[in-house]
Amino acid sequence: MSRKLIETDGPAWVQEGLITEAQRQLLLRRYPVEEQTIGLLPLLGGLLLGLGILSLVAANWQGLPELVRLALLVFTLVAAHLSGELALRRGQRPLGIGLLSVGLLSFGAGIVLTGQMYHLVSHDARALLLWGGAGLGLTWLYRSRFLYLLTLVIVCLAQAVSTQQFQVYSYAGLAMLLLGLGVYWFRRPDKLLAWSFSLGWLAHMGLLLDHYHLPFVWLIPLLGLLYAAADWLPTRSLAAPVQVLPLAAGWLVAASVAVNGEQLAMVRELREGGTIYPLALLGLALLSAAGKWRQGSRPSLADWLIFLPLFYLPMNPLTFIVQLLVLYAFAGAVLWRGYHAQWRPEVNAGTVLFVLASALAYFRLTWAFFDKSLFFIVGGVLLLALSWWLRRRNERVLAAAAHEQAVTSAPHE
């Protein structure tokens, strides 16, 4: 609760008899005014001073002797880390983490500038990986989400440079992502970390497929790995954020099969690849199922519907209808789970998926036969009606559930 809320709404609470005036005063005393403005001044001064020194050094950089330049780089690195540690010891966490980030960035800059200063040639991304390693060390040491994000960006950058500039997929980079940042997320599950780690994983897997010229649909099992791993977290609410991306990718593939499966290059490529793909998916599904069993979230096993590789079936109208039904079933499962858990984000996601599946079905079934203006008018009306109906239903179900909860919990009060 913030002081502001007590200040603005407090008098009304007293009037309504929720709290007494004495209690309001007590609450106010509990949240004292923070002296933010005073704390900002030295920070601002330090920033200006730092920028001034930086520009002075940058302007004369090339003119300085090599060893002086090296000493300056080392000094910046050490000073930023030590002052960060000092600030943390004094309880100024944002300032401390900020200074440590400056230290980490100055290490990266130091690597680049030293290499440049001595005109050294590099044929791999080793130096960038060392930079990522320093980031990992700081992240684990200080448990900071900001340092985590910074390190994730560095590790992804190192992988991108390695594959794009040096034509080598760096397994050391992948190990850093997995064992350093992945394990960190797994041990401290958090929404922001989950999202950013899954994006980092997507970037690494995308670069992997690009590097080995593999069909991009292999992203499904590779992201599925992340999905299955998340099922081994203690609860489903921790797993959900990291599972959104794999599900979205699975949905996109399923939707593109439903719309124009007969023309997809990936269908041909995968069939040529043999049985590895479905076997990999099956293995992951089993791993995920075991995790869900342990987690107590068996209903979410329906998620695997979306990963079904229906493109192994002959590409004919029957298959497209089956694929559409699978999309509906998936949307239905998400909606049902949302109602069941009375969790609004899931209900909303299910609604959107249901409307999208209907749009795809409509497109697939009528595009060839309808006059185009008629196609858009009828389609628009259908979708609007459907979304209105679903939203009304959602509101009713959620409201009824809330009412029921209020009634059942009343006697306990």
């Binding site: 003119g63 090296l70 690195l77 050294l120 684990w140 040491l141 064992l179």
Partner: protein, 184 residues
């Protein structure tokens, strides 16, 4: 690569200071190590002189570095020794060089690191383009960050039809460093 984690929920005042010291020391060592590699290459490495082609003076100077285009940047595909057909874009190759006057000359281009004969040296490069009789390579030596005040002088010299001689240090352990430019 991850540092062992301290015990969870450790209060802020008992931060694992020794680990930070170790981490900072490792970073400092990396920076000093990079510099040491350069000095070691000067000391134990061999000096290779490479000839540059005249460059368009308007394109030459990009801020604080000059772009260098070597004689051995564009080679005849007849020098390709394999294995396999001409390397595609991005593939690493090794260019075997022999000493000559005024600059070193290419002997052959290899897909795997060759074992140089006495006096010869193999320089790693990356394929830029290969088509027909052309094999364009990039050595990572194409930018020279200028010491203060030498820009103009180098610019006119490099634009001169006789080109420049570039001094490259090649260490036995593979470190390659552009040491300087020789005006002719």
């Amino acid at each position: 690569m991850n540092s062992p984690a301290p015990t969870p929920n450790a209060p802020a005042t008992t931060r694992p200071r020794p680990w930070l010291r170790l981490l900072v020391a490792a970073q400092v060592l990396v920076l000093l190590g990079i510099a040491a590699l350069a000095y070691a290459a000067d000391h134990w490495g061999r000096t290779v002189l490479l000839h540059t082609r005249p460059a368009d003076p308007r394109d030459l100077l990009y801020g604080d570095y000059v772009r260098l285009n070597y004689d051995i940047s564009q080679l005849d595909s007849g020098l390709w020794r394999g294995p396999g057909p001409l390397p595609p874009k991005g593939r690493p190759v090794w260019v075997l060089l022999r000493p000559a006057q005024p600059a070193w000359q290419p002997v052959g281009v290899f897909g795997t690191a060759p074992s140089p004969a006495a006096g010869q040296i193999a320089l790693q490069a990356q394929t830029e383009i290969s088509w027909g009789r052309h094999l364009n390579l990039r050595y990572g030596l194409e930018r020279y960050y200028l010491p203060e005040g030498t820009g103009r002088r180098l610019e006119t010299a490099a634009a001169d039809s006789s080109g420049l001689l570039v001094q490259v240090q090649v260490a036995p352990w593979g470190t390659v460093r552009l040491r300087g430019l020789k005006l002719r």
